[in-house]
């Protein structure tokens, strides 16, 4: 049925096997196949849920590895990088080097997303050492990995809390810290307008209360918004930088795998 692209039905029949068997090995194989069907239906969340039902007691190493790797793969596709990483961490802890090497690239992908680039680099180097025999190719790949994972290339992390704190004390500075110059200019100019209105009200037209209420109202709104905005912009900048860097790394990993 899976071969005929009747994945929904095939998944159901694999579930039937789980229902009817008491043999954990058969159940595990069925759940693996069911997850394959769900992945074919572009439903990694369901595949992840299916794989997390596996009980690893009494299974062979090869089946444990297949299951953990598939679970990590489905989790990775579902953007649950913590789960993917923890599944592959267990491969490292309980299975031999042969399996660790096989899972290393996927582990590196998950670690990249978790900003653990040093560990990801270790995994990449480990994979090359175990899978590439030809000296020249190996040296070339090691060089590429060293270049890609150079400390200078790591995206600079902007702490959202620090950005918020900066903007609390010096309005606009949090936006500058996050790398958004014009946002900072806008924030400062609106706050200045609020203060200016208050000053005009108090010192020029002598409408003290109106000046304070309107000026303070404007200042207070943009001050609070600026603090929140700085925090948001720091997160946005981190996301964009990481996305760009991790996309480069992913391309490198896929190239190495080929």
């Amino acid at each position: 049925m899976a071969q005929e692209n009747k994945f929904e039905w095939a998944a159901l029949e694999y579930e039937r096997i789980c229902y009817s068997t008491f043999d954990n090995r058969i159940r595990t194989i069925a759940l693996n196949h069911k997850a394959n069907c769900q992945l074919s239906l572009y439903n990694p969340a369901a595949a992840k849920k299916t794989m997390l039902r596996i009980s690893y007691f009494g299974l062979s190493d090869s089946l444990v590895f297949t299951s953990r790797q598939k679970s990590a793969y489905a989790s990775y596709l579902d953007k649950d990088f913590e789960q993917a990483s923890s599944q592959l961490f267990l491969v490292d802890q309980f299975l031999n080097e042969e399996y660790q090497a096989e899972a290393a690239l996927l582990y590196a992908l998950a670690l990249n997303e978790l900003r653990e680039w040093d560990k990801a680099k270790e995994k990449m180097l480990f994979w090359v050492s175990k899978n590439v025999d030809k000296q020249q190719t190996r040296d070339s790949l090691l060089f590429e990995i060293e270049c890609a994972y150079n400390d200078d290339n790591f995206p600079k992390y902007r702490d959202p809390e620090r950005a918020s704190l900066w903007s609390t004390f010096i309005p606009g500075s949090g936006q500058l810290y996050s790398g958004y110059f014009w946002d900072a200019v806008f924030s400062v100019s609106m706050l200045s307008t609020g203060l200016g209105l208050a000053a005009i009200g108090i010192f020029v037209v002598k409408y003290y209360v109106a000046g304070i209420v309107i000026g303070y109202g404007l200042f207070q709104r943009f001050y609070m918004a600026g603090v929140k905005r700085a925090e948001y912009l720091a997160g946005k900048k981190n996301y964009l930088n990481e996305r760009k860097y991790n996309t480069q790394l992913r391309e490198l990993i896929l190239k190495i795998e080929d």
């Binding site: 159901l12 029949e13 579930e15 009817s20 209360v209 109106a210």
Partner: protein, 334 residues
């Protein structure tokens, strides 16, 4: 003579037995083995059948056992919260259900309706559950679920009608469950007299819904003793000091918001009156702006007593609906 008759009778009996066996052997040997379903096509592992296709005649062997196994599997799927898979299988079974027994057909329909109910698709659930006949016990369950679907759709009269057609022995567990459902509907329709007459039948001796019976009495007490605050008092209080009326109505955060908007505008208007005079354009504009917010504050406070009542009632109604649902789950899905 008698011995002769016995011999003749024995011979004729042997003949009929042998001829019946011969017919059976003929039947077996005449089956086209090439067209027999493969092992993978056996019940429970049917392949190459689209959900819209009907099952070929020859595959429908031992159909009662097949449907019985399939329904057990559906129950397993539902218990494991795999509703999508369960729906997929039930739709297939529904297509094939001609060879099932009537009770099994009802079970298939009932489970389809139950999943609609669980997914809160009440109109579809009613459409399917109403097709379950009352011949078997599952028909009772279907009527209860159909009734609660009507309750969710706020069609209380139809909900009562669906319950009333169920034949039950007075004092039985299901009879008392029906009383609980009736009483719950009377609370939802705020018919407290009817609730009093129905709650007299609560015995609290069925553990599946004794807690809910007590809860209903509590809800009744809360609903019947709740006294809505006066909108006049709320409006008057907010006229004296902006936002206080909402505090009186029971809100705790929103009064501050009202004060935050209205009081600064009042200060600005007073300042304009003192500096430029009551007939100055500054005061007329700023005073007018304050007036809009001030009247809005009074009107909002007067209405807030109704919205507070509505919020309290809505919360109790949600609890009532939940306490109507739980006993059904306990009684019918163990």
């Amino acid at each position: 003579m008698i011995r002769y008759l016995i011999v003749v009778f024995s011979l004729s009996l042997s003949y009929f037995t042998l001829s019946a066996q011969h017919d059976f052997v003929d039947t077996i040997t005449s089956i086209d083995t090439d067209n027999l379903p493969l092992q993978s096509d056996s019940p429970g592992l049917i392949t190459n059948i689209d959900s819209t296709e009907t099952i070929p005649e020859k595959v429908q062997f031992d159909s009662l056992d097949y449907f019985s196994n399939e329904l057990s599997f559906v129950s397993y799927l539902i218990t494991n919260e795999q509703y999508k898979d369960a729906t997929f299988l039930l739709n297939r079974l529904d297509v094939q259900s001609k060879s099932a027994s009537l009770e099994q057909q009802d079970s298939i329909t009932y489970l389809r309706g139950w999943i609609y109910y669980f997914n809160r698709e009440f109109t579809d659930a009613i459409g399917v559950l109403s097709q379950v006949s009352t011949t078997y016990e599952i028909g009772l369950q279907a009527r209860f679920y159909e009734s609660i679907c009507y309750v969710y759709l706020e069609k209380f009269d139809k909900a009562k009608t669906r319950l009333s057609i169920i034949q039950l022995d007075t004092g039985s567990q299901l009879w008392e469950l029906r009383m609980l459902q009736y009483a719950s509907i009377s609370l939802l329709t705020r018919d407290y007299e009817e609730f009093d007459s129905l709650s007299a039948y609560f015995s609290n001796r069925y553990f599946e819904f004794s807690t809910e019976e007590k809860s209903m009495v509590t809800y009744h007490h809360e609903l019947s003793t709740y006294k809505r605050k006066s909108p006049w008092v709320a409006g008057f209080m907010s006229a004296l000091f902006p936002g206080i009326g909402k505090f009186y109505a029971g809100y705790r955060g929103t009064p501050l918001g009202t004060m935050y908007m209205t009081l600064p505008l009042a200060a600005v208007a007073v300042e304009a009156a003192l500096i430029a005079g009551l007939l100055s354009p500054q005061f007329l504009i700023l005073g007018g702006l304050f007036g809009i917010f001030y009247i809005g504050n009074i009107w909002g406070s007067a209405l807030s007593v109704y919205s507070m009542k509505r919020e309290i009632y809505d919360e109790i109604d949600r609890n009532i609906l939940f306490d109507m649902h739980i006993p059904l789950r306990r009684v019918f899905w163990q």
